[in-house]
């Protein structure tokens, strides 16, 4: 027992040595700051007063120089000379009026303007609210003998390291010395005084204690030794207390047989010690006395004595703390009271789970009594400075925390724990309401009440519903806060809902994630979904509804910002609801539906945050759709589930186009168009998955037509561009897939490609004359060229190599006819270029690389002549649309002229060239010259009919070539028969041409 006592004393001493210097330093620094602030404010007051005085003199027509501000003398805490008017003003000033709340500031101007023209107006109210006492306990009353000495530091502008040294030397070293002296004397009594009996030892102890006490009392009368004397007195009382303790508990000093008597004596000593300490109003001495008193109780095992004594000590310490405003003492008393109870309960035998411990009722009643004592003490105090309020609030928190710690240790009954927590919570809330004038106390108690009630819920409700209850409690607080216009409640509610969300995630969502990502089934969890939905409702309601309707419920900017962003928590909860409720294949459309709803809400509420959330949700849905649904080939009835889901997703994206666009959000237009693009891309990808490779191009073509029509109808540029993009992809795909199909005009390549060409031409027709496309004049040309190229490529695959030239020539004829029919010169240009392509193809394949096994229908004569005739058939259409030359010169200009303005030239000379070429390669001997002559005559007659000089010149050039050939080649190489046949034919041709020239001379001159 002695050892326990000594150990307790030693621990206390060590704690004092270690922690109190730090506390002292911190306190001194704070005091130093307070004093400097006082000096600064004092200087300002005097400066302001001097200014007021000068103004007043000026108003009275006097001119008195303004004294220099006191701030000019920084080393002096007070001004060297205080002007009389200042004193007068201060004397006339009304008594100090504290602001209603610590943060409240009374505007000085208001006071001045309320009394216009008053020359004897008091100084501004702000001046009057300044602290009047410069002491380190400013605002505290300093009754009794301590009062004259307390402001000793007020005169000093600042503390120096020498002050700290003085404090350590005079105060703490003396306390430490006293403590060690007591311990030493105790050991001395126990072990060294072997010649004395127990009574002698006790007498020595009492005498030593009395001597120390007497010395302390005497020394305390002198100011210089006041601090020292308190340590000595404390040592005396401690020694007396120990001796009393030793009278029963220390065998070497035992003179009593009854522990109860000894304990009663110890209490008497402790009471006297406390009474004596109170005389000096020293918190430290009184605290030491209470420490010894609690130690007395702690070492006793007698419940009948221990527990009531502890209650009495608790009540006494609380009363003294209230009376003297010794809040540090209060905290120590709370800690000691509950620690004592904990020590007592630790000695009780353990009980089986679910059964109450022995003395349970007594213990619980006492714990609640302790709590009530300290809580009442906390409630009844008034006029507490801010520092003290913080300290005593800490004690209030410690009081409730200690109750929970001590009670729950041996409360095995959940119902009782629940009841206890709720009761304490309600009591704290009621207490808070009672002291609502003390804002810090109100906030402390109300917060604890809320926390205690919240802590009770997990005891009563299961882990899967507790989050729901917490959300309800949090929302109730928010509503209360709004109704009362008190930010504390809304702050508590918002914080509580956030914490409940975190708990919901950790306790319910994470296990569900683990189940779904593990081997577990991907099943819906309506319970988690409902809780997440509740969370989303709470978050969105607070963020969007309450914040907008009652902004005053969120007084601080930070609170408003948090409440504003709380909607993102709502988004997470909402998305989580969909995730918990929907099967994975349906999650993407679910998210998109949420995005759509949020976009509608953003539109209605003009909230950018909600708009951002709608975009996030919608894009997440798209990502999920791509990752999950496109590979999903499960059938739902006659359809793939993929078809249904992706269609829903695409519809949602297209709906988001219009819904997402808000005038208030600059970038929303771009995002709206992006949604439309995504919707169309989803549709295109869906068609790729659902259709066979050959049909994909056609489906994309149909999609493009619909998009184009919609874009034209609604004047939506993005839809038109989507249509062109779809056409571009379809066009490209043809060259990688469809043209790999089987040949023949009814083969898969032709059947699956030709409609694309029709769609391209249709698209050209729809956009060719639209003014909105004027900034892209090349687009219609490109689209139409795509159609023509598609047809040409299709013919290249569908027809045999020998027939390709014929097919292309027919296409040229078709282009020319269309140009003539529609008046669009574009097709005529394409026809001219097509004629060149026919020549190249026919020469390369039909003339130079024919099949050695070709029949007449695939041989060079038939194919080339037919191609030439088809080209010539297009000539009248081209003649009808020819244009005069534009006057430009140069090679490029000439080519442009031939293609663009005079396509008839290509359509005349291309077939003529083909006929001449095939005759040259495949005619034998003199037949070449005869064929060329016949062709020249035919060309000349055609030129006459068409009245085109270039054609006539071409025909004449061909005749000239015949003459050259017959004279250079045929005369020398041909046999006799061939030679005369050639001559006869060429001569006839020349005569015929000459006749025609003569007959139509006048006409020709007109056109020359």
């Amino acid at each position: 027992m002695l050892f326990t006592f000594a150990l307790l004393l030693l621990c206390g001493a060590v704690a004092l040595v270690i922690f109190l210097p730090f506390w002292m330093v911190a306190r001194m620094q704070r005091e130093s700051w307070n004093e400097q602030e006082f000096v600064r404010l004092n200087d300002r007051i005097e400066t302001l007063a001097a200014n007021v005085h000068a103004l007043r003199r000026r108003l009275d027509g006097q001119d008195v120089p303004v004294p220099p501000p006191a701030a000019a003398v920084p080393d002096s805490p007070l001004p060297a000379s205080v002007p009389e008017p200042l004193s007068a003003v201060r004397r006339d000033s009304p008594p100090a009026v504290l602001p209603a709340t610590p943060g409240e500031i009374v505007p000085p101007a208001a006071t001045v303007t309320n009394r216009p023209g008053r020359t004897d107006a008091p100084p501004p109210a702000a001046v009057s609210t300044l602290p009047q006492a410069p002491a380190h306990d400013a605002g505290f009353p300093h009754p009794g003998r301590m009062a004259p000495h307390a402001p000793a530091t007020a005169a000093a502008p600042h503390h120096s390291s020498s002050e700290l040294e003085a404090r350590l030397g005079t105060n703490w070293l003396n306390k430490l010395g006293a403590l060690l002296l007591v311990v030493g004397i105790a050991f001395f009594m126990t072990y060294q005084l072997r010649t004395l009996g127990p009574l002698g030892k006790d007498i020595v102890g009492f005498l030593a204690g009395a001597a120390l006490l007497a010395g302390g009392v005497v020394a305390e009368r002198r100011t210089d030794y006041r601090m020292f004397s308190r340590g000595v007195m404390a040592a005396g009382w401690a020694l007396v207390f120990f001796t009393t303790f030793a009278m029963y508990h220390v065998p070497a000093a035992r003179v009593l047989d009854s522990q109860a008597v000894d304990l009663a004596l110890m209490l008497v000593v402790a009471g006297g010690m406390i009474a004596h300490a109170l005389r000096y109003r020293s918190e430290s001495v009184t605290g030491l006395a209470f420490l010894l008193a609690f130690a007395t109780v702690a070492i006793s095992h007698d419940a009948a004595f221990t527990l009531p004594a502890a209650a009495i000590l608790a009540a006494a310490s609380a009363a003294i703390a209230v009376r003297m405003r010794w809040f540090g003492l209060e905290i120590g008393a709370i800690a000691a009271t509950y620690a004592n109870h904990l020590l007592w309960s630790a000695q009780l035998p353990a009980s089986p789970l679910g059964q109450a411990l022995p003395h349970f009722d007594t213990s619980l009643a006492l714990v609640l009594l302790y709590w009530a004592i300290f809580r009442i003490a906390y409630l009844v105090r008034r006029n507490i400075p801010p520092d003290g309020e913080r300290t005593t609030s800490l004690g209030a928190v410690l009081n409730s925390g200690a109750v929970i710690l001590v009670s729950t240790r041996y409360l095995a009954n959940p119902d009782l724990v629940f009841t206890l927590l709720v009761a304490l919570g309600v009591a704290e809330a009621v207490g808070a309401w009672l002291v609502r004038g003390r804002r810090p106390a109100f906030a402390t108690l109300m917060t604890m009440g809320v926390v205690l009630v919240a802590a009770a819920f997990p005891v009563r409700f299961g882990p899967r519903t507790v989050a729901l209850v917490w959300f309800l409690e949090a929302e109730a607080l928010v509503v209360i806060g709004v109704r009362l216009r008190d930010g504390l409640f809304t702050r508590l509610g918002v914080s509580g809902s956030a914490l409940a969300g975190v708990y919901l995630y950790a306790a319910d969502v994470v296990p569900l994630i683990q189940t779904r990502t593990g081997a577990g089934p991907y099943a819906a969890d309506p319970m988690v979904a409902s809780m997440l939905a509740a969370a989303a409702t709470v978050y969105y309601f607070n963020s969007l509804r309450l914040l907008r309707a009652r902004p005053e419920a969120f007084p601080q900017p930070f609170e408003r910002a948090v409440a504003d962003k709380l909607s993102y928590g709502g988004l997470l909860a909402l998305a989580g609801t969909a995730w918990a409720l929907l099967p994975l294949p349906w999650l993407a459309p679910g998210l998109m539906a949420i995005g759509l709803c949020l976009a509608l809400a953003a539109r209605r509420m003009l909230s950018k945050d909600v708009w951002v959330q709608s975009q996030l949700t919608a894009f997440t849905g798209v990502m999920l759709l791509i990752a999950v649904n496109f590979q999903d080939a499960v059938m739902v009835g006659p359809l793939h589930r993929r078809l249904v889901v992706v269609l829903l997703g695409a519809a949602a994206q297209h709906s988001l186009y219009r819904v997402s666009r808000l005038d208030a959000i600059e970038e929303s237009d771009g995002f709206g168009a992006l949604h439309a693009w995504i919707g169309s891309a989803l549709l295109a990808a869906l068609l790729w998955y659902e259709l066979e490779p050959l049909a994909v191009v056609l489906a994309w073509s149909a999609l493009a037509v619909l998009a184009l029509e919609a874009g034209v109808h609604w004047n939506r540029r993005d839809l038109r561009l989507q249509a062109f993009a779809a056409l571009a992809f379809a066009f490209g795909r043809v060259f990688f897939v469809n043209l790999n199909g089987s040949g023949g005009l009814l083969g898969s390549a032709a059947v699956s490609t030709a409609p694309l060409a029709l769609v391209l031409f249709y698209a050209y027709e729809r956009i060719a004359d639209r003014e909105t496309l004027r900034e892209r004049p090349w687009l219609p040309e490109v689209v139409a060229a795509g159609g023509t190229i598609t047809l040409a490529a299709m013919l290249r695959v569908a027809l045999s190599p020998a027939q390709v030239a014929i097919g292309w020539a027919a296409l040229v004829l078709l282009m020319a006819a269309v140009a003539a029919r529609t008046g669009r010169r574009l097709f005529l240009r394409q026809a001219a270029l097509g004629a060149v392509a026919v020549v190249v193809q026919a020469v390369a394949v039909n003339i130079y690389e024919p099949s050695y096994f070709a029949r007449w229908s695939t041989g060079p004569w038939f194919t080339v002549v037919l191609s030439a005739l088809l080209l010539l058939a297009a000539l009248p259409f081209a003649r009808r649309m020819k244009l005069a030359p534009d006057g430009r010169r140069g090679f490029a200009a000439t080519v442009a002229l031939l293609v663009s303005r005079r396509p008839d030239q290509a359509l005349f000379f291309a077939p003529l060239l083909l006929l001449v070429w095939v005759s040259a390669v495949y005619a034998h001997g003199g037949l070449v010259t005869m064929a060329w002559g016949a062709e020249a005559v035919a060309a000349f007659m055609l030129a006459l009919w068409m009245r085109e000089r270039s054609f006539r010149l071409g025909a004449l050039a061909l005749l000239l070539a015949c003459v050259l050939r017959i004279t250079m080649i045929d005369v020398w190489r041909l046999d006799q028969q061939g030679r005369y046949l050639a001559f006869i034919t060429l001569g006839s041709a020349l005569l015929l041409v000459s006749f025609l020239y003569s007959k139509y001379r006048g006409l020709l001159e007109d056109y020359l």
Partner: protein
């Protein structure tokens, strides 16, 4: 109203075509063949006139071919004689009357046949071992003869010598690789078509070579007519890219495409599609172990 009618008609045509395409039993693969064929067509057309003007004479071509054929080791087996006999029979219908010579490479791993300028044709023993009928051998030889007959070999030789074999020449020709690929494929398809006609003219079954194509495809574990559908549009694009970089640059087009082309020729030229292939010469076949490779 008129525009709506046009629009409805257009959509009806597109949808009808899509339905027809959707019901096609055989879907084409996704590869760059059509595009490269078109590019090859352009290249061949552009080179037709100048190539013909610069082409060397038959005498010079025969000299070049003989020089190249000197490195070949002559086989005197019954199978080599059998190859010569069938080749001579087929080459009688060729347009260019060159001194055709047929060689057998004894390498059992050579599953190919090669034509040299001037009339030399080399067929690998590995390829012959895949055959089950004389008509297949005739088709292969006819294919190679048509490469010679249509000047493919000498043109290729002249293009190679025009580059000079120098690094600079090769570098200058490098950008034309894609063009050359399309060019080579056109030549192969042309040789298939003309070879089929040549073999048919010599009395062989025109569709017999299809058996050989399918056997070769089985050997390389590829399916001749069915096409693997890509798993996604991106995978399809990657397939196309891979085909352009790798598969397409093989010496011959895919078997499916060649088979389709031969069937087209048979249909267009009204050749006897039901002609029965004649069996291989028994002595030669047993000496070479023909058919065992299947």
């Amino acid at each position: 109203m008129r525009r709506l009618v046009v629009l409805a008609s257009l959509l009806a045509v597109v949808v009808a075509a899509a339905l027809v395409a959707q019901r096609r039993p055989v879907q084409p693969p996704a590869d760059p063949a059509p595009l490269l064929n078109l590019i090859g067509d352009v290249g061949r057309s552009a080179a037709a006139v100048p190539g013909r003007a610069a082409r060397m004479s038959d005498v010079d071509e025969i000299g070049v071919g003989n020089n190249l054929a000197r490195t070949l080791r002559e086989e005197s087996s019954p199978l080599a004689a059998y190859v010569t006999r069938v080749g001579t029979n087929v080459s009688g219908g060729a347009r260019r009357q060159l001194p055709y010579a047929f060689h057998l490479s004894a390498d059992p791993k050579m599953f190919n046949a090669v034509a040299l300028p001037g009339g030399h044709v080399v067929v690998g023993a590995g390829l012959v071992a895949l055959m089950t009928s004389e008509d297949e051998l005739a088709a292969v030889l006819a294919h190679e003869i048509e490469h010679i007959d249509h000047f493919h070999c000498i043109d290729r030789y002249q293009r190679g010598t025009a580059a000079g074999g120098s690094p600079a020449g090769l570098i200058l020709l490098a950008p034309l690789d894609i063009l050359a690929a399309g060019y080579a494929k056109n030549e192969e398809l042309e040789a298939d078509a003309e070879g089929t006609r040549l073999a048919a003219a010599a009395g062989y079954a025109p569709l017999a070579v299809i058996e050989l194509f399918e056997a070769a495809e089985r050997l390389s574990a590829r399916r001749p007519t069915s096409v693997r559908r890509a798993g996604s549009p991106i995978e399809e694009a990657l397939d196309v890219q891979a085909a352009a970089l790798d598969g397409y640059f093989r010496s011959h087009p895919p078997a499916a495409e060649r088979i389709a082309r031969i069937r087209d020729v048979v249909r267009e030229d009204r050749l006897d599609a039901n002609a029965r292939p004649r069996p291989l010469d028994a002595v030669a076949a047993s000496a070479a172990g023909i058919g065992e490779a299947r």
